[in-house]
């Protein structure tokens, strides 16, 4: 998806995040941050020319995409080169990912650690969990916006 579309989605997610209660609504408050950060990652990967925006939308099965226009109301699944990724390493990329992405990935992993325990699992969030997520998300986005503005640093 084009960088501008990813940026629009980030705005939409941040609007939702601002309206939800981090404790009462933790699952979707958290999930909105996760998806917003993934949009930022894809925007950065496109900006650094690691991946092309691509004409298709990513599916939850890594490597599978759907065509952007439905046919007879059905979304046709295809296998094409990414495009947008759905998680770090999913699908794997043939292209080398520059090291300047590593700090972003580290913070995204901090966020992702809450997915199995607190969203898919039954753990309830604490104020400390909320702060950990908030801080990791803020760092992700700061790194992403810097990379989008400056491009990859010269080695």
């Amino acid at each position: 998806m084009e960088i501008e579309r990813h940026l629009e989605k980030i705005q939409q997610y941040e609007d939702v995040i601002s309206r939800l209660d981090p404790i009462e609504d933790f699952e979707l408050w958290f999930w909105a941050q996760l998806n917003s950060a993934t949009n930022a990652l894809n925007a950065v990967l496109h900006r650094l020319k690691v991946t092309d925006p691509g004409p298709c939308f990513s599916h939850q099965i890594p490597g599978v995409f759907v065509e952007a226009e439905p046919v007879d109301g059905k979304w046709k699944k295809v296998i094409v080169a990414p495009g947008d990724i759905i998680h770090i390493g999913f699908p794997p990329l043939k292209q080398e990912v520059p090291a300047c992405i590593d700090p972003f990935n580290h913070e995204l992993e901090v966020l992702e650690n809450f997915r199995e325990t607190h969203v898919r699992g039954g753990e309830m969030p604490t104020e400390a969990d909320v702060e950990t997520c908030r801080a990791a998300y803020a760092k992700c986005m700061a790194i992403a916006y810097k990379l989008m503005e400056e491009g990859a640093p010269r080695q």
């Binding site: 997610y13 309206r19 009462e24 699952e27 979707l28 998806n35 939308f57 990513s58 439905p70 898919r120």
Partner: protein
């Protein structure tokens, strides 16, 4: 997680979805996927098709045999999950138009899945997978 814990989690996610408007379609569809996935896990555990410590994360990762059994025993819950999962690529990861209709369908499917799973009874039949 026990079936009761899964259902409580689905109801908690539904309460958050109810705070959102249809223009928040992305997070409503995602909430649908997460909540209904909890319902499917509750169904799998109630029916004895999967142990409580062996949850699925998407319908795509069940075996064909499990999928067939679940479709026979709790097809309505599985239909809800598959409908919402199909909305993720175009409306969450993509930018297809008419996202509000996706949000409305996801809301319907979450409520339906919680309702369906609440009516399931244990099957009490042992299941085994053939492993050559």
């Amino acid at each position: 997680m026990s079936p009761e814990e899964h259902i409580r989690k689905a109801e908690r996610i539904l309460r958050t979805v109810d705070k959102c408007t249809d223009s928040d379609a992305m997070i409503i569809v995602e909430g649908g996927m997460l909540a209904i996935n909890h319902c499917v896990n509750a169904a799998l555990h109630i029916l004895g098709l999967r142990a409580a410590d062996n949850d699925i994360i998407h319908s795509d990762y069940m075996s064909v045999a499990e999928m067939t059994r679940l479709r026979i025993l709790a097809g309505d819950v599985l239909d809800c999950l598959e409908r919402v999962e199909d909305m993720r690529a175009p409306y969450v990861r993509g930018c297809a138009p008419n996202k509000e209709s996706a949000a409305r369908q996801a809301r319907i499917d979450i409520r339906a899945a919680i309702d369906h799973v609440g009516k399931l009874k244990p099957l009490d039949l042992p299941m085994v997978d053939y492993k050559p």
